[in-house]
């Protein structure tokens, strides 16, 4: 087996084996478990970096074998895959560090980190899947491996959230499976390829293809939090903060959005999807979700719930970008996949820090937290500003690209949506920032803990600062060739080339 086939497998196995080892370790061997976690994360990061470099140079990383009659298991690294794989590999490292600190002294850590690794292995699989079937395989594995994380605390509330999560996602899985199986019956095994498969398909099939498209989008839309399938996401907030970070930034909602990108570009082909008239309704739905999520976020008093509705809104930017017919819009959507991940994970890390250090969960309890925890609050503020779209932060780059895409696609209404949404973002984020810095402490913190010199536990302290640095850098360096933006441009060029 050549190296080019080995690397995708290694990227998967690094966290899969970590999961197996962690499950086998006894509950009490915390140091060893942390070591395994970090080693696996670093290994994966290295492998992904090598692969990204390879893809940039045009190396074809792929491996496949026949799994069932007529269906193959296929891993393949293309530019789009590396975008998502890179995102999860980088963020997994920080989430792991954060989780080790966050869960110190709590029970069931062996179970938690085992499923945590399994979850990231599934995400890698989703990213590297070479055909729709393999994508589905890992997509469902992701559902299963996140359930134990959502219900980790074992309280009634978290079990309730877990139940809803599983109902939504398995229901979505059924729609997706039906769509994939149907499509397979029509067209056979469908590897992802840049121009899609249905260019010039028999017009008699158009009806069926439209129906299948609806099924696929419905299935993927559940994880992506597309209205009206978003109900599970705010409830899942009861999970521990690293899990929320995982759900919102690294794995779950991203897997849904990524799947939609795959279906539109690499299965149907953007031209065909446009010709079939499928993009316009999807764009409207995404636009509605953007506004709806923001409006709902306004009224949330629980910090993490507010962030959750913000996610619903922000993820639909990606979908909106995809549906803006033209390379510019695509660039905006794709780069937002990454930018949103970095910004949202920062916000959740900070929210977790407030909860762990001060016992604060509600927005109105945050008064004066900036003085008590300056570094965390700076991180939160920058990430919030990024979300709003203040230049030169990450969010600004996205919104600019999306706006340019909307103009190019002659869908001016989308710019209006972007503007309104930015205003709403400001409306629900700025009050928090204001409270952090400008309100005096109203009452003693509900449950304050101290860890020596730093404002919080060291393992909780550094990850949000690093991700904040990243979100500043991706904005500042957007024009250089190392930025996510230029990578997204590379993808868009390859996608629209023919």
């Amino acid at each position: 087996m050549s190296l080019s086939a080995l690397l995708p497998i290694l990227a998967l196995l690094s966290s899969l084996l970590a999961a197996v080892v962690i499950f086998a370790l006894p509950e009490s061997s915390h140091r060893l478990r942390t070591l395994v976690n970090l080693l696996a994360a670093l290994l994966k990061l290295g492998v992904v970096a090598v692969m990204t470099w390879g893809v940039f140079r045009g190396v074809d990383f792929s491996v496949s074998f026949t799994m069932l009659p007529g269906v193959s298991f296929m891993l393949r690294a293309d530019a789009l895959a590396m975008l998502f794989a890179g995102l999860s590999a980088v963020l997994w490292l920080f989430t792991t560090i954060y989780a080790v600190g966050y869960l110190e002294d709590s029970p069931n850590r062996s179970r938690f980190f085992g499923f945590f690794s399994l979850c990231v292995a599934s995400t890698m699989g989703v990213a590297l899947a070479g055909n729709l079937f393999t994508f589905f395989l890992f997509y469902e594995m992701l559902t299963l491996s996140t359930y134990p994380l959502v219900v980790h605390r074992g309280t009634d509330k978290s079990l309730q959230a877990g139940r809803n999560y599983i109902i939504y996602t398995l229901g979505g899985g059924v729609a997706l499976l039906l769509g994939i199986a149907w499509l397979h019956g029509l067209a056979g095994d469908l590897p992802f390829q840049e121009t899609g498969h249905f260019q010039g398909a028999d017009p008699a099939l158009h009806g069926q293809l439209t129906l299948i498209f609806v099924l696929l989008i419905a299935g993927l839309g559940v994880k992506a939090g597309l209205f009206p399938l978003h109900g599970w996401l705010p409830q899942a907030m009861v999970a521990p903060a690293p899990v929320s970070a995982l759900l919102h930034a690294v794995a779950v909602v991203k897997a849904g959005a990524f799947g939609i990108v795959r279906v539109v570009y690499d299965i149907y082909g953007i031209d065909f999807a446009y010709a079939l008239g499928l993009l316009e309704p999807l764009a409207w739905l995404a636009a509605f979700t953007i506004i709806y999520g923001s409006v709902r976020a306004l009224w949330q008093t629980d910090l993490k719930r507010r962030l959750a509705f913000s996610t619903i809104s922000q993820v639909s930017y990606i979908i909106l970008g995809v549906t803006l017919f033209g390379p510019l819009g695509a660039v905006g959507g794709l780069v937002h996949l990454l930018h949103q991940g970095i910004m949202k994970i920062t916000l959740f890390f900070c929210a977790g820090n407030y909860a762990e250090t001060l016992g604060v969960h509600r927005v109105d309890e945050l008064d004066g937290a900036g003085a008590r925890m300056p570094a965390t609050s700076v991180a939160f503020t920058l990430a919030a500003l990024g979300m709003i779209g203040v230049p030169p932060l990450a969010g600004f780059v996205t919104k600019w690209a999306l706006g340019a895409g909307a103009l190019a696609a002659e869908m001016e209404w989308a710019i209006l949506v972007l503007l309104v949404s930015s205003l709403l973002n400001a409306a629900y984020f700025l009050p928090i920032v204001y409270r952090l810095w400008f309100c005096p402490i109203a009452a003693p913190w509900p449950a304050e803990r101290r860890w020596g010199r730093l404002e919080t536990h060291a393992w909780l302290f550094w990850p949000p600062l690093v991700t904040t640095l990243m979100l500043v850098l991706v904005g500042l360096l957007a024009a250089t060739f190392v930025s996510p933006l230029s990578w997204a441009q590379l993808i868009a060029v390859r996608m629209y080339l023919p």
């Binding site: 499950f23 509950e27 074998f65 026949t66 799994m67 069932l68 009659p69 007529g70 269906v71 298991f73 029970p107 069931n108 062996s110 179970r111 589905f136 395989l137 890992f138 469902e140 594995m141 559902t143 299963l144 359930y147 134990p148 219900v151 980790h152 605390r153 074992g154 309280t155 079990l159 877990g162 139940r163 599983i166 398995l170 229901g171 899985g173 059924v174 499976l177 039906l178 199986a181 149907w182 397979h184 019956g185």
Partner: protein, 495 residues
């Protein structure tokens, strides 16, 4: 070589049954370990032999059919022989540790176990309708004996129910055999298939009777009432054997009959009707599984539901194109294999959990994840296969069945397949949920030995891995069968 393998395959279980009857439980355990090893090797050897040289008929006592009894050794049969070796070995190893050797009646476990195995091998290889009846009875009576072992009132009640159901099923099957023999003068399935014509009401009635009898023995809805008590009350290794293998034996015969004779003796109504009953089983069984308060009852009702899928074979192979029929057959085979592995894993793991929390109730499982994560994980993995989520064998089976339904235009089975998965998720997640609850007052858990925990895990991993290697497993089914054409020609010439 085949000579030796066949002799080993047929002789060992019967001989071990006789020998272990003379020993007590502990000695029988030693003996059985050896026997399981031999069986596993012989089964593997036979599988290799068939994979390299194709299938063959084996004339017992040197008399060819129709005068004597011939065994049909083909890809499907060896697959099931191998499956039996795997599952029965696992259950036997588990039982050796799980059962209490100080009880005098446990010594009878081993002979019953080996007779059961012998009967199963007889069914997989059987090509003679009457011999299949005797093999079925061998299975039924030893299974009833295993359920009744210990002789408590609840066990006896379940065993009696079970006994009456399987006896009636066998007789109805035999009635069909009588009709077929009366008309065609032979008991060999191949022989009958060679001479049967399209318009034969008596033979059609015979097929109907045989299918009805076998459906009762397979616990097809609405004839499933006997299964949950029997599988729920038996000791866990026994439940695993019953759910994993025993119900499959009667289904296997029904499927063979249908595939040989169904195209001429069956009808569209019959095929769809059986499929509808299967669909009813999937939905009703899952619903009841969801409502059971006891852990093992949940698993037992889940068997009722999973068996329902098997009966989709009938509509999906009747009057459809050859490739579609093949897809359906492959899907059903995978379903049988993966359900056997997953369900036995589940029962064994459930036994460990029950042992650990000292209660049979689902709601007593709270907090068990701290103490028995391994067994719980096995249970969970097996559950994934039952929900038919990827990458398990259950998913591979469902995928093939979906393709077959879509390709034959029978979209209503698609609904059943998808709904069944969702319902399975409902009852499996109910148990996961119970184990995550953190409100247990006491920390009084018993730790079963490691070996008890390892066995269900292995089975669950096999069920999981089956989905990834489904292609090579299925390729064995399509192996050439050397003598089939010859014998069929022989029989056709005779009349």
């Amino acid at each position: 070589m085949n000579q030796w393998l066949m002799a080993g395959l047929l002789f060992t279980p019967l001989a071990w049954a006789a020998l272990s009857l003379l020993l007590d439980f502990r000695q029988g355990r030693w003996l059985s370990w050896l026997g399981m090893l031999i069986q596993a090797l012989v089964s593997l050897g036979l599988w290799v032999a068939v994979a390299s040289n194709g299938g063959f008929y084996y004339a017992l006592a040197g008399w060819e059919a129709p005068l004597g009894i011939a065994l049909r050794v083909d890809g499907l049969a060896v697959t099931f022989v191998l499956l039996t070796a795997a599952v029965a070995t696992a259950c036997g190893l588990h039982a050796g540790v799980y059962l209490d050797p100080s009880k005098s009646w446990q010594r009878y476990f081993w002979p019953l176990f080996w007779f059961l195995w012998a009967g199963l091998n007889g069914v997989w290889l059987g090509a003679d309708l009457f011999n299949l009846y005797v093999s079925l009875e061998l299975i039924s009576l030893s299974a009833v004996g295993l359920v009744a072992l210990g002789g408590e009132a609840a066990a006896l009640r379940a065993a009696l129910r079970y006994l009456f159901a399987v006896l009636l099923g066998s007789l109805v099957y035999l009635l069909g055999v009588a009709l077929l023999y009366g008309q065609f003068g032979t008991l060999s399935l191949t022989g009958i298939a060679a001479v049967v014509g399209a318009d034969e009401p008596a033979a059609a009635m015979a097929l109907l009777l045989m299918l009805a009898g076998l459906a009762l023995k397979t616990a097809l809805f609405p004839l499933h009432g006997w299964l949950p008590p029997a599988h729920g009350v038996a000791k866990s290794p026994v439940s695993a054997l019953l759910s994993g293998l025993v119900v499959k034996a009667s289904f296997y015969i029904a499927a063979r009959l249908w595939l040989e004779l169904g195209d001429r003796l069956g009808s569209h109504t019959l095929a769809q009707g059986i499929g509808a009953l299967g669909a009813g089983a999937v939905i009703w069984g899952s619903w009841l599984a969801f409502r059971q308060p006891h852990l093992k009852q949940v698993v037992a009702y889940s068997s009722v539901a999973q068996i329902g899928y098997l009966f989709l074979l009938f509509p999906l192979t009747f009057a459809v194109a050859e490739p579609v029929s093949r897809l359906a057959q492959q899907g059903i085979t995978l379903q049988v294999v993966s359900h056997a592995l997953a369900k036995s894993a589940m029962f064994l793991a459930a036994g460990n959990l029950i042992l650990s929390v000292r209660s049979k109730r689902v709601d007593a499982l709270g907090g068990v994840s701290h103490y028995l994560p391994f067994s719980l994980f096995s249970f969970g993995l097996a559950g994934v296969s039952l929900m038919s989520l990827p990458p398990t064998g259950g998913f591979a089976a469902k995928w093939l069945l979906l393709q077959a339904s879509l390709a034959s235009g029978q979209w209503w089975w698609v609904v059943v397949l998808l709904l069944g998965g969702v319902l399975a998720a409902a009852y499996v997640f109910r148990i996961y949920r119970a184990t995550f609850l953190e409100d247990r007052a006491s920390d009084d858990f018993y730790h079963p030995p490691r070996s008890l925990e390892a066995i269900p895990m292995l089975l669950a991993l096999l069920a999981l891995g089956l989905g990834l290697v489904a292609e090579p497993v299925l390729s064995v089914l399509a192996l050439p069968f050397e003598v089939a054409a010859e014998v069929a020609a022989d029989v056709a010439v005779q009349p």
